[in-house]
Symmetry: D2
């Protein structure tokens, strides 16, 4: 049984190096803020494990996500925004493979348009948006979900970018949060899916122009999500040719030649 | 309101031209058998519309799926098996786009490993398999689903390839059929999903070595699925910057400069 | 195949007879307003059928829902508020039985606390509420759902009672609408479920103190919901003792005596 | 945070006292066998807690399920078969209330027809059945689900009663097991739901005429299910009148008199 959870917080890490306003909020990058918060936020649910948190960024070799590093990663947290297209498809393939084997994936805010999130969802992942420093109130729709542990009925962020419905996603397995926005929209802000053997959580807040990842409720949600998404198994994909478990009646009209050919054909 | 449904039955069309046993069952290709059956099978549910059925195959230009042809297609039926990798990614992108806009997609049998099905699901779509001419009994788990119209409690196929669980798919919105196999396995054989504005149905039977698509129950299921998957809307993807519907309180600490930059950044 | 849909609009019909303000809005009862609107609102989706709309109220014999009348009802629309407890349990049993056989059920507004809705859900169906004449904006989260046909991205009601999350319901099969309220809450306002062979739709708006059922968007939603919930089958419940379809190996250690006793025992 | 899980195994306890064959398999009642197995089976997942297991039976005062005892119960395991109708409705109400507050509920085999299961589901919970000492093979459809921990791809029971589809239940949140039966049927044998704040698991095997609850795989499943269903919260139902969180525009045409009356009306 696992005794620790290995986490990588991945960040595009461009805004913080190019925009003074963003740099003032996240001087070492928002990945560093999130990683430090995770390290400092113990789990609240039974079975919560201690975390080993590292980071990775776009401009590192292989975006910091080598085969070996991903092989040892339990939960990957993803933030990207303006250069999703620069993420190498081979790395996206690699992350998808690991999620399907059991690795957790937490996608934050503008990561809704990342290659990996769109890959896992199969949809466009579009939405409405507006950057107007407006109030967001996140309502807890599933208070017994582990990701809602330690929260009240709602929490507020005084200034956030607005994301509004329709959010083009497959229906979530659970919708933990629904947001109310000052400007009049609503949004499914905390959404859970299972894909393969892995768990995926999308969490809406986190525009780079606001100190959202310094907020203690936001930190609590991400910490809970990491615990929730930690792998329960690690199962490598196969598509086996299976021997029968019961006798199959002999069918004289068929020959085994066809079978052998067909086995070879299967991808 | 639509008055007809335009259908394309797509086939890899290799086995039938390379294997005499398969050619004997489907001399003009299984796409032709399916298309003729669809044309001859009226819908049973209220709202059923007449069909205009065409076909397309891998070796045609653009696999027979040009932009223009797909733009006018309501439901695409897909059969592929041994050369999934030869399907052009640009055509896969195009089909995905149309499904997300509202086009229906029916994936048959070995199409579980097609690029388009894996793209829509986000998973490996693996399973167990065995070719042993064995009996399959498909149980109707959701008798009130439109795809089950006209069927009894179950129907049987005397000889089929076995597909067994675990089938690596996202949990279906509805599981219409579960199969019992002579050799001891079970399988979720009729699965429905919604992705974007389109409906997707996976239907298990249809190994090329058996006359499955000549079976009247199988034909009934595919005809029902086409009616069920016909588009209800046609909505092209956008990710709009939305004006507020309610007044937003003035926040003196923020400037609009940041907003303009960020809009430009969004993918 | 059915050619018409038989609808009963059921109303508690107390507020309208006891409160002048409500009577001014719905002089013949809100059931009459809804029934007239349904009769005048043709369906927009393929397969839409003409409606035969009647009404029933609490103070009629058997609440207007005799065995015979329900047996011929395709879709039942339900509005109740202050005397849910006066609904006879035998009538609730009868309605549940019909829904499970295939009859549609549309539950409106304060019907969230009706015996029949709680029976079908298995939960408390609690929520937050406030009557403050506030603006409600209903966002269309699933624009391709038949219940959203003919609507824009959202519609507004200038004055409504607020219902807020957490709404204690089983996760809906589809969530068509999410409401934004002026006072700061959100709510899953249009929820679909399947139970047995019947379809259930809960639609939030409709406090008796406001002219909500005179609103054309609200009328459109209820009309769409009636078409969506119309039965596709009528299957009476059984729990049959089934003969085997395959040979079962003889087990010398067991006798049939036990079997016979057990069959008689089963409820 | 909880450190132990309090479990009650409830049994109708009639067959074992009336039928020598059943008594030979379960001399102290099948509740005792299950309780002893639970006590002896440590959890496999992170967060597994030690169990305190007691039992209760139909013929005890209040069926052994007093208000106080249920208030301290974390997970209730339920087995009943031939006298479901003798369970007091007041006790059913009490159990439902506790599940909605967060208590776990594990329903075994013929408990599919128990009052409490039908109450939680809202459906008939009917199925096909046959008692013919036949082989059942349970396939693990969701190998990463906590309830499947420690199992292989499938497990078998040499002699069981057959339950076949269609099983009249709301679509499960997760379907962990699907059974293959020797006589030709299939069944969704391990089904999960959330209702209110509680988790419910239905597990098919366990006919009283066979030693099913002595089987180590069956014991493993029940032990896993108890850990999975242990409460994460304990939230008592309310339906609060909520004060607005945002200013609401003054509407001169409305008065507060109506509001006060309506508050009193709400159930």
């Amino acid at each position: 049984m696992k005794t620790r959870i290995s986490v990588i917080v991945w960040n595009e890490y461009r805004h913080e190096r190019e925009n003074a306003m963003v740099a003032a909020i996240y001087p070492e990058g928002l990945h560093t803020t999130i990683a430090q918060a995770l390290q400092a936020t113990p789990g609240l649910n039974p079975g919560a494990l201690p975390l080993d948190v590292g980071t990775a960024t776009l401009d590192e070799l292989e975006h910091g996500l080598s085969e070996e590093r991903l092989a040892n990663c339990d939960v990957l947290v993803w933030w990207g925004h303006k250069v999703h297209n620069l993420v190498d498809d081979a790395v996206v393939d690699r992350v998808q493979k690991r999620v399907l084997e059991g690795m957790g994936l937490i996608v934050l805010h503008s990561g809704h348009f990342s290659k990996i999130f769109r890959r896992m969802m199969g949809t466009n992942c579009s939405l409405k948006w507006r950057e107007a420093h407006e109030k967001e109130r996140l309502w807890v729709v599933e208070p017994s979900h582990p990701i809602a542990a330690g929260l009240g009925e709602y929490f507020e962020l005084p200034n956030e970018e607005m994301y509004g419905e329709r959010f083009d996603i497959p229906q979530p397995d659970s919708t933990v949060f629904i947001s109310w926005f000052e400007g009049g929209e609503v949004f499914r802000s905390g959404c859970c899916w299972e894909r393969g053997h892995g768990r995926i959580f999308y969490f809406r807040p986190g525009h780079e122009a606001y100190p959202t990842y310094h907020d203690s409720n936001v930190q609590r949600v991400i910490a809970n999500a990491v615990q929730w998404a930690a792998p329960r198994v690690n199962i490598v994909d196969v598509c086996p040719n299976a021997q029968p478990l019961e006798p199959i009646s002999f069918k004289p009209g068929f020959t085994n030649v066809g079978i052998t050919q067909t086995q070879a054909d299967l991808v």
